[in-house]
Amino acid sequence: MIVGSKKRRITFRAARYVTLIVGATIMIIPFLYLFATSFKPQLYLFEIPPQFIPKHPTLSNYTDAWTSNSFGHYFANSVFVSLVSTVIAALLSAMMAYAFARFNFKGQNLMFWLLLVGLMVPGMMLLIPQYLLANQLHLINSLVGLILFYVATNLAFNTFLLRGFFEEIPWELEEAMIMDGAGPFRRFWKLILPLSRPALATVGIFTFLACWDEYVWALTIINDPDKRTLPIAISIFQGQHLTNWGLVFAASTIAIVPVIVVFALFQRQFIHGLSADALKG
């Protein structure tokens, strides 16, 4: 049975590729459209039939987007905020996950349920209470305010993910370290974290993406243009009466590129990180 005919296997293989190619095409067409439009002058933005290769290509949308409103500066702010938030969120959630994975303690279930609640409430509902809190903490108009709340928002999901991973790390490894007199912090730092690199990469990418795209909170607490992040800079290109779509799409393309690069680079680790299998293999 397992042998099957060679012909059948080839047909199967072909079918697999056709399915994948059709699927991938559907996934990618909107981006080709976005990408093509970002090279079109206002005059030729939305033509029917659609032009995937612009007849009158121009780089002006890119130069305009990059030079207006210190776009480069906002880009740097976004990188800074996203990176710092990612590192802190990964560290704090790893610590929490370690506690959940390796210890029995009072209030464990309650804490777990609270984290779960945090995962379920719509962020929109918390906007005003969080904003009033940020004001009490004097975090309005500061990048620290952005980072603190980005970290908090991502803690619950990261903790769940990392906890599942940590539990798969054989206890024997830790026992060996205990024999050598290592305390829990040393074990966490020297054993758990290094072994969990793929999982940390995974939560890192999820967090980075979430921070990179975040818009409403950044709009709400940042007043100073010098402290703006990319999504706000892009929204300014949307006019009340006219939106220059070429400009918006060029700016969006600039914003997407780092994200795709990050994913392409870490894709393998990323998937491994989601899979406990990484350790056994």
Binding site: A24, M27, I29, R102, F103, L126, P129, L155, A156, V248
Partner: protein, 306 residues
Amino acid sequence: MLANVPHGPSKPSKAGFVPYLFLAPGFLLFLLTIIYPIFRALQISFYNWGVFPGSPTTFVGLHQYVREMHDPVFWRALENAAVYMVFTVPLQIVFGLSVAMLLVRKIPGRGLFRALFYIPVVTSWVVVSLLFKFLFSTDAGFVNWILHNLLHLSSHNIGWLDTRWPSMITIGILGVWKGVGWSMLIFLAALMGVPDSLTEAAAIDGAGPWRSFFSVTLPSIRLTLSFVTIMLVIGSLNVFTSAFIMTGGGPQQQTEVVLSYMYHQAFQFLDFGYGSALAFTLAIIVFAISFVQMRLFRGGVTRVVR
């Protein structure tokens, strides 16, 4: 209780204060910035809340919730969110799992395909919602151009975003398109954990690919399946940006979802008390559904992936 009590025989039973040291920084931050605001939001929902400092705020008890029960737009918004959930969750699971099955084995171009399917996940909701609004616009849209001009599948240009159900379907299509990559990724990770020996054994026993899938693969990724389902259900009931940008709740509030309606009430009409009540009701519904699901799946979320 759920199956979330950490398992394994090897845990130190007497941990003392050590776990709390690990938990403290993250959990205190979480309590302060997430849990405390949840209680504030609950509190606001019991008031006719004056937005500006010094403007009158009056306690109205459960009035906002009673008002909600008699508000046809709220019910329609809830119905729309439910329809969105029913449309997007199964499709994301089916497509995500199918693609993951196709990409789990080593084949040429595997990394590229994974990246292509994942790109929609990593782009911002705002950008792709604007993009889809163009793609699905009636007269100059790419989709109608394909269906009508190119393939002649439709005799006229379809008004995708003109009436309630086509709009909800279009918003759902965006949701599925953007979400497939995410579930693909989680399923991929889980499938990599299914030992080849299991499927090989099934094949030797004479199971075809379908039977092998249903009797071996699916049961071994049961926890992942439940995790993905729960996360997708939470995400789909909380749908906001796509609906808000593509139809703005129109025409005549026909395509309002709970959070877009909440946004209109709070930020357009400054009725933050009612807005909070709407959001809180949604949160309770999401919580209840998740609770039931976890019961059914026996602890999916808490085990996350394996």
